[in-house]
Symmetry: D3
Subunit: 237 residues, 6 copies
Amino acid sequence: MRPSGRAPDEMRAIEIVPNFTRHAEGSVLIKFGDTHVLCTASVEDRVPPWMRGKGEGWVTGEYGMLPRATHTRGSREAARGKQSGRTQEIQRLIGRSLRGVVDLKKLGERQITLDCDVLQADGGTRTASISGAWIALRMAVNGIMAANPGMEDPIIGQVAAISCGVYQGAAVADLDYDEDSNADTDANFVMTPGGGIVEVQGTAEKAPFDEEMLLRLLRLARMGCDEIFAAQLKAVS
Amino acid sequence: MRPSGRAPDEMRAIEIVPNFTRHAEGSVLIKFGDTHVLCTASVEDRVPPWMRGKGEGWVTGEYGMLPRATHTRGSREAARGKQSGRTQEIQRLIGRSLRGVVDLKKLGERQITLDCDVLQADGGTRTASISGAWIALRMAVNGIMAANPGMEDPIIGQVAAISCGVYQGAAVADLDYDEDSNADTDANFVMTPGGGIVEVQGTAEKAPFDEEMLLRLLRLARMGCDEIFAAQLKAVS
Amino acid sequence: MRPSGRAPDEMRAIEIVPNFTRHAEGSVLIKFGDTHVLCTASVEDRVPPWMRGKGEGWVTGEYGMLPRATHTRGSREAARGKQSGRTQEIQRLIGRSLRGVVDLKKLGERQITLDCDVLQADGGTRTASISGAWIALRMAVNGIMAANPGMEDPIIGQVAAISCGVYQGAAVADLDYDEDSNADTDANFVMTPGGGIVEVQGTAEKAPFDEEMLLRLLRLARMGCDEIFAAQLKAVS
Amino acid sequence: MRPSGRAPDEMRAIEIVPNFTRHAEGSVLIKFGDTHVLCTASVEDRVPPWMRGKGEGWVTGEYGMLPRATHTRGSREAARGKQSGRTQEIQRLIGRSLRGVVDLKKLGERQITLDCDVLQADGGTRTASISGAWIALRMAVNGIMAANPGMEDPIIGQVAAISCGVYQGAAVADLDYDEDSNADTDANFVMTPGGGIVEVQGTAEKAPFDEEMLLRLLRLARMGCDEIFAAQLKAVS
Amino acid sequence: MRPSGRAPDEMRAIEIVPNFTRHAEGSVLIKFGDTHVLCTASVEDRVPPWMRGKGEGWVTGEYGMLPRATHTRGSREAARGKQSGRTQEIQRLIGRSLRGVVDLKKLGERQITLDCDVLQADGGTRTASISGAWIALRMAVNGIMAANPGMEDPIIGQVAAISCGVYQGAAVADLDYDEDSNADTDANFVMTPGGGIVEVQGTAEKAPFDEEMLLRLLRLARMGCDEIFAAQLKAVS
Amino acid sequence: MRPSGRAPDEMRAIEIVPNFTRHAEGSVLIKFGDTHVLCTASVEDRVPPWMRGKGEGWVTGEYGMLPRATHTRGSREAARGKQSGRTQEIQRLIGRSLRGVVDLKKLGERQITLDCDVLQADGGTRTASISGAWIALRMAVNGIMAANPGMEDPIIGQVAAISCGVYQGAAVADLDYDEDSNADTDANFVMTPGGGIVEVQGTAEKAPFDEEMLLRLLRLARMGCDEIFAAQLKAVS
């Protein structure tokens, strides 16, 4: 029995508020239940120094959590003077996941930065970030294409992410904080439509898990991502 | 003529969304036109080391700006590894302003941290932060008092803040970004009802200003703060 | 009754030692009673990256306090690895105040850095810094003009600063440490001759203050600055 | 065809030098071909502050790469003043993996730090680190048990790690640098004997991969880990 | 021929201004020609954590250089966020040198911090720092002894320091900046009366030097230190 | 009587393993008894910014100690976020010492970085680093010369280093950790064949030492370095 009363394969309600802020080239507030992440895409006409002159673009991610997004207040990373290992791990994942669906040559010498800032956390902030970042990216690229007639679409396809896990022995989809903090196993999947895996990260929190459980989680993830893909398309249409 | 078409003493629309997030003891999204700040109040039952054992509480402020709250993306302070001088100046101001209306003895050995995070910026983020922080503080203290029957209210009164300035020779209230970046003079006032000044910070951006102009700005500020005081009361009632 | 026995509008003795050190283009040791600040002006023939190619100059300030300038030893900021918020606030104020009286176009592509280092502190270090920095700046600019015949003087006028406050209910000028640490209100004024205000920063340390008190402090400041202006002129003549 | 001429499921030669250094409670130099990692286990009789008084121990990992372990020299992290996101990600993985096979209660209030320092790198440094760290841990725990007769063995079982990937369309085991830098997919597996998965991290470097490929890589990993488990046992016997 | 016209064994004029600042327990401005260092001794009734409870005291040194103490402005270490290797090397030397003449047991559980801040530099700042720090230390310890009748003097004897070197082939005493920056060899000696060596640091800047040259420099140092010892005694008498 | 039973002038066994790692242009593991240092030389075809365009090269050193090279684990400098004063002092010494035997003009616009990483420590790590770095440098320069026929050898001669000291009243050579931590005096000598002194650093840990003792230590150092010079030549032949 899940604390939220959800069925094992039941995801939380997804809500997407496009254009939540006005300055960014792409902006969306994405909610998976009580997890709320503001994702913005910022376009710059220059790439990092080590990429200059190659005629290619770059897509990168940054991640932050407001100090009181969580049940108890965490210290502000800017005040501590460094980003935690967890934050860096997540922002590297966001960048890799989105680059996985972008043809950097077609993007041209532009950098798109995807800022994912968690306003409220209830588990699954990194997967919500990736799922929302794709929408912000799509909006920003639409703007670039509108301003550059004839440009080919550099976005190859959709990407979404979900965390699944083993809670009290059962495989469940879209872990919330209560589940996540007591899960036996926690696995994040970044996927493309049709079941392509961009990234899988599974961790046994208690006992090791086996091949069969990995497959069960993967199938839950695939179903969950299909739901997210639909919500993404609706948001950008 | 102001870029926004407002009258010299006309403030931007104020919108207040109480309980914008759910974990904090006090939480409010405050909007002055296109300036949107999320203010939360977090209560902890311990004070900083240098205050322990005095039977007094502490109120402090922290301030941040999401990287793409602004017209062009700014770098993330957590990634740069330090808070800018501007950020530190603002969060010191927030803390001082709110402490100005709290009786720390009556608060008891508790710390309340007021986090002011700018989701979207259009001028006046520090004054919106102070005005919103008071609401979050009020909510949090209400909660403490509800849990501690017989406790005297440690909040002495309201506090609000506004930026006024000289734009194209005229004194105007509640500067937005277009005005702020071209003002001759920029002055922030932190006030209590009835015209008490908690803090005044005026800077001549171009030519020095005189006593008379300072008084004009002060009077605009007083009128503007009255409007904010009313909005604060409505939000917490 | 002031702890020092001074009259309410009586400033501390001002002593100015020009050319206190020999390498800087401008150098002065300025003393307001027991507050001693070494101010130097350093000229470089290049401006910060973001200003290059505009044909304009830049004036900036830096501030430091020797660890044992104070009653009890403070830790060394270089050893702690960062400048405090207070330090940054002060050096930003020094830079703004001096830029307020310099025509950056006439300065040409040069940067002048005003280093204000407190050798001994007894209240009012930031205002002594500004007042002394103007002298160092004047000396340095005199040197530039002597080396560049025909160059127009980029210094528009004098600037000086003073802290006034409310001590035991009375408005007093030029607070020393004993007064400053017990003041009801503390206000720093940066002014030009004739009563022009470049910057005002007033803080209610206890109860809010009103418009009338602000005006009283402003008038004390104006009288005090007149005394400083005279001392500055004498030092550079 | 693999650059090294190895068969798809053929691992590099494993060499293990126990007691490579003398001060640590456990010490081993582990080599997977040209990847050489020095792993040490250090025992301390105190745990981190947040764990004190629980009667439990802690196992943590740290990771470093000598500046010239790689083909071209990398900058020294200590000189840059921070550990890269990659380093933090790896050391978090090392800690989690080893904690996965330790009963922290049986360990008692002790901390064991596993330092994995790469002397020479040719791909797979994180997996070699985990595989070697287990040996160092085993040695250190043997020493603790020898000094504490009657203590139950806190080590539940073995753990090893391997990177597998898709190189030129084929699934191959134990990627070296040439393969790793051109792989389509790269997946690290941390496993226990009998096929238990402690951690899986798979990344599509080019096109997404599918469920079937994930299973193929998992099976290669399982075979490879069996070889490592045997080498570990031989080293500690 | 020395640039200053001094004889090979001729030191610069030594000037000592005791009580240059008023808050420190010991304070002196020491001048070796154009090298001016402000040395203060600060007494605290507590020692660093790792020394507590041993009944012993601690003496430590800190060193800084004002940004414009030098011919061209150097960046402020507090602003850069770290102390240079040179600064750390010097302050370690100051601490070691002074501890060499203090009986830490007799000092009792007190820490004395010797802050040496260079107001103006012309070579030999570290040796001037040590020579001046002894005076500040002596003053501070006199104060402690006056307040603790019956306490034995923890200062064993005097210590002074001088830099000697090989300039244009000749051994010369008390290098100034012009000599120092062109010396073949530069050697700093920290000595006690009667020729005791506390520390010697000699560096060949060009060709290696031999035993005979080392002895010549040592003898010059001994003569120079005798002059400093006399000046120290005069200052504290 | 020395703890190791060595005669006063007896050095520890020297062992040198050339080409210990394969990527660096020069690489050697050098052992003085239980002190083991991995020294690599890395060649880059560009010099630091402040040296560009002069047609000269640069030689620099970096130093590190693995956390568990020592009897008890030290914290990792990369994790602490800064290099200790000791580390910086040592790496500055390594760089100076090696530059002392290189003609930077003949090197051409190349930088050689000498990384000295202590795998196991038992006293004398800085002197072992210098002695080993020379071998790595020689190897790397041999490679440059082989690739640039006609290039003149930029290495002027050999350099080696040794620590000598006063242990229980007697002058002894090549201090190990037991001696070093109880020495009355500790002196490091960096020398060239024939008795040239590149650097001498002597510190009285207890009572000051005199000229005669300095000479005794110097003579022990000279004999010890002769032994190292022979071992260096054998390693590179």
